[in-house]
């Protein structure tokens, strides 16, 4: 029996024991997001309490289940009962759940998100009926948050490496056919059909070929790839085996950003496990196929997500893109044919091979097959990582899954595609989420970042934000991008600071066209999208900034001033103490006043003023706004 066969048996046994465990098992979501929300403290408390109570129980660290806004997340297995999932657990809740549910009979439905397995428990429904999960179709994420990502047996017990074994059975051509029939398109942004790229590479004669996994995830505001690697690293690695096998690559690289230490660690662990199981090295599983895998850590350059720049970076050079053709599939890493795929594209391969192309095409729309993960963030109630069939409407994502915007706020738009994408206005939310529709709207699918914007978001500021990002990240090789993004940013800064001129919008539009058409790589070609879409859908807001010198969202610091309503102010001195520049004057019990010459418009006073008084208001041009601005739930 081979090491792999043995591992499959061990895996089945281990998993069954876990499922049928007579003693309690606690699964804690401890990916980066879970940790940020306090998962490590939860695990510590759990272990301490277990010891204190002399309980026989296991604690297992799992990855991310997805609903990050409800993290830390705990799943409890109790003998004879369905597994229950709890959200927002903190050390106190742990003790309560142990007392009342594990030791008693109260399943604490007030904290439960749902049942993870079949069975009945009063007051707790199936997690699949939870509003955040109802519209989701979880294929890529099916194991995330349910298995221990550092235990390969958990992966093997849940259909792991079956797709690769199937590929070996089908042979290189059969595997290629299956991928072609699936119509899988790249999930890294452009949506290029995977099989077409492979075909080009397969047709290029060369004794050496390379496969690269693009885990650079440069879109600032997206975390799909991080979460998947941290929660289920083998699914990506299995996809790499399949791709390498079919295109005939003997060596592979994973280019992962350095900002993702946990993901890097999980990849290293998983690669060691693959070696032990004979899934790497020469003559893998006696198939004659040999493959080696290396990890390369990115060094903090957005442009290195672009494939030719990424190649330069792996070669140890400055990460500058080069013109294509030749395409990397023909001449890439060290001038050898090279296929570069996004993390999620690769993870799709294992499922396609395991379940067949016919199964895959059942999901999605006519031209965009399958499912796609999105990182839902921004001004929305439920944030996190989700997976939906392509073709679903934006509205369903934002309102059903995301639960809409906060109380009293209005959705203004949705940003997709990060710095390469654009802002889709709230009245266009019927738009289906597929490659063509999003591109037609002026935005793009991108890699899956989706950021909700509400009426506290200024669209000029958003355009300025993205432009300052792309301008800073432009590698400087081609003038349209290097100079064009800077010139555009300067105009946006002018408008945001109330110095906009009547023809600025036209100028911006013209420059945007030039940068888009004349830049060398995708960075410059798509950098104008955030500007173009905001001009197109939110032109009135630009005009307000230019003509009335006012920012209706009260964001652009130079156009907003802060004041204290003397009638509301109780003189509590909270804002006086909080102001970082000592711009607020006043004594206890007397109304305070802001010294406008010192004020830096940071908004700290607005956050500090107790809700009961809400004495601080902002004005911009002829507009004023009173409110207690909420800045997330504070955790004092």
């Amino acid at each position: 029996m081979t090491a792999l066969q043995q591992a499959f048996e061990t895996a089945a046994q281990q998993w069954r024991q876990l499922e049928e465990s007579k003693t309690p098992v606690f699964f804690v979501g401890a990916a980066t997001c879970g940790r940020a929300a306090g998962a490590i403290e939860v695990i510590e408390r759990l272990k301490n309490e277990i010891k204190k109570r002399n309980l026989q129980a296991q604690v297992i660290e799992v990855g991310c289940l997805g609903p990050c806004s409800m993290e830390p997340i705990l799943i409890v297995h109790k003998n004879g009962a369905p597994r229950l999932c709890y959200g927002n657990v903190d050390p106190e809740r742990i003790s309560a759940i142990l007392d009342r549910y594990v030791a008693g009979n109260d399943p604490c439905p007030q904290w439960a998100l749902g049942r993870m397995t079949q069975g009945r428990i009063d007051g707790i429904g199936d997690i699949a009926d939870h509003p955040m999960f109802r519209a989701q179709v979880r294929h890529i994420l099916k194991r995330c948050g349910l298995i221990d990502p550092e235990n390969v047996h958990h992966y093997l017990a849940n259909s792991g490496y079956r797709g690769f074994l199937k590929a070996l059975e089908l042979g290189r051509d059969g595997t290629f056919d299956e991928v072609r029939k699936s119509g899988l398109r790249g999930r890294g942004g452009a949506g290029f059909p995977t099989w077409r790229k492979w075909q080009l590479c397969r047709q290029t004669a060369s004794d050496i070929k390379y496969l690269i996994c693009n885990a650079d995830e440069g879109d600032p505001g997206a975390f799909m790839n991080r979460s998947l690697i941290e929660s289920d690293p083998h699914s990506v690695l299995e996809g790499m085996l399949i791709a390498a096998f079919s295109i005939g690559a003997g060596e592979g690289y994973i280019y992962c950003r350095a900002e993702y230490p946990l993901a890097l660690h999980r990849l290293e662990t998983a690669i060691c496990q693959m070696r032990r199981l004979g899934l790497l090295g020469s003559n893998i599983q006696g198939s004659g196929f040999s493959f080696e895998l290396h990890i390369k850590k990115g060094a903090g350059a957005f442009v290195c997500g672009e494939e030719t720049a990424l190649i330069a970076s792996i070669e140890g050079r400055r990460g500058m893109p080069r013109p294509r053709p030749p395409f990397p599939a023909v001449s890439g890493l060290w001038e050898k044919p090279t296929i570069i795929q996004n993390v999620e594209t690769l993870a799709n391969l294992a499922m396609i091979l395991d379940n067949g192309a016919g199964w895959f095409v059942r999901y999605g729309s006519a031209s965009s097959k399958g499912t796609k993960t999105f990182a839902l963030a921004g001004k929305i109630n439920r944030t996190g990582l989700i997976e939906v069939p392509l073709g679903i409407s934006l509205k369903d994502v934002i309102y059903d899954i995301g639960g809409g915007v906060g109380a009293g706020k209005k959705l203004k738009g949705v940003q997709t595609g990060g710095p390469s994408g654009g802002c889709i206005p709230a009245d266009k939310l019927d738009l289906p989420v597929d490659y063509e529709s999003l591109t037609a709207s002026g935005s793009m699918m991108g890699s899956g970042g989706m950021i909700a914007l509400d009426d506290d978001t200024c669209m000029v500021d958003i355009a300025k934000y993205f432009l300052s990002f792309t301008q800073a990240e432009s590698c400087g090789k081609c003038p349209p991008c290097r100079i064009g993004t800077r010139a555009m940013l300067e105009i946006l800064e002018k408008i945001a600071s109330g110095r906009g001129a009547a023809d600025d919008m036209d100028k911006l539009g013209t420059m945007a066209q030039t940068v888009r058409d004349a830049s060398l790589c995708g960075l410059g070609q798509t950098a104008p999208n955030p500007v173009l879409t905001t001009l197109r859908y939110f032109g009135a807001e630009y005009e307000q900034h230019i003509q009335k010198r006012q920012c209706p969202a009260f964001v652009c610091a130079a156009l907003v001033s802060y004041h204290i309503d003397a009638e509301r102010c109780s003189g509590c001195t909270a804002c006086v103490k909080a102001c970082p520049v000592e711009a607020i004057l006043g004594e206890r019990k007397k109304p305070h006043k802001i010294d406008q010459s010192k004020c830096i418009h940071c908004g700290v006073c607005l956050d500090t003023c107790p809700e009961a008084y809400a004495a601080i208001y902002r004005s911009s041009g002829s507009l004023t706004r009173y409110e207690q601005r909420k800045s997330g739930e504070s955790k004092s």
Binding site: A36, A299, G316, L376, D607, G632, S634
Partner: protein, 161 residues
């Protein structure tokens, strides 16, 4: 912290024997040098040039291209403020401003007492819990200016006022 020549030699030699002198390992070796010293000491770069045959000029060319590399010793605590999109729309610029005021430095600088480094980072992947700040690699989610001030105090070794 100044780094002695011997230290430099030893570290560079060890890393090269670990990774190899091949050009493709240059960035990895630089990352490990920085991991060791907290920055890229000039001496180490000179050493690396001598031992690999890649000119120091060329090495600096590569190193300066990537945002990760630093050329001066870092402060004791490193505060990173995420400037990703999700954090931006949730007010991370406010946090940055607050920190700039409190510490009296701009992003990329170190406080005069060497206690703090202030840096921007473009997304650490915790966007769902925005805005996010990291101190010495520990992620603090859903930060507010008030909590930022507390964090700074905790790490300055000073008592709460």
């Amino acid at each position: 912290m100044t780094v002695s020549a011997q230290q430099n030699n030893a570290v560079v030699a060890e890393l090269l024997s670990l990774h190899g002198k091949d050009r493709s390992h240059l960035i990895t070796v630089l990352q490990d040098i920085q991991q060791h010293f907290g920055y890229l000491p000039r001496q180490a770069v000179t050493q690396l040039a001598q031992r690999t045959g890649i000119s120091a000029n060329e090495i600096y060319g590569v190193a300066t291209f990537y945002a990760q590399f630093r050329f001066i010793p870092p402060g004791e605590h490193i505060i990173q403020v995420c400037q990703g999109t999700a954090c931006h729309v949730r007010g991370s610029w406010q946090l940055l401003q607050e920190l700039q005021q409190r510490l009296g430095i701009k992003p990329g600088q170190t406080t005069a007492d060497g206690r703090f480094d202030l840096r921007r980072v473009a997304c650490i992947g915790c966007c769902a819990l925005a805005p996010v700040v990291t101190v010495d690699g520990n992620v603090h989610a859903r930060m507010t200016p008030k909590e930022i001030a507390l964090l700074v105090k905790q790490h300055s070794g000073k008592k709460d006022r």
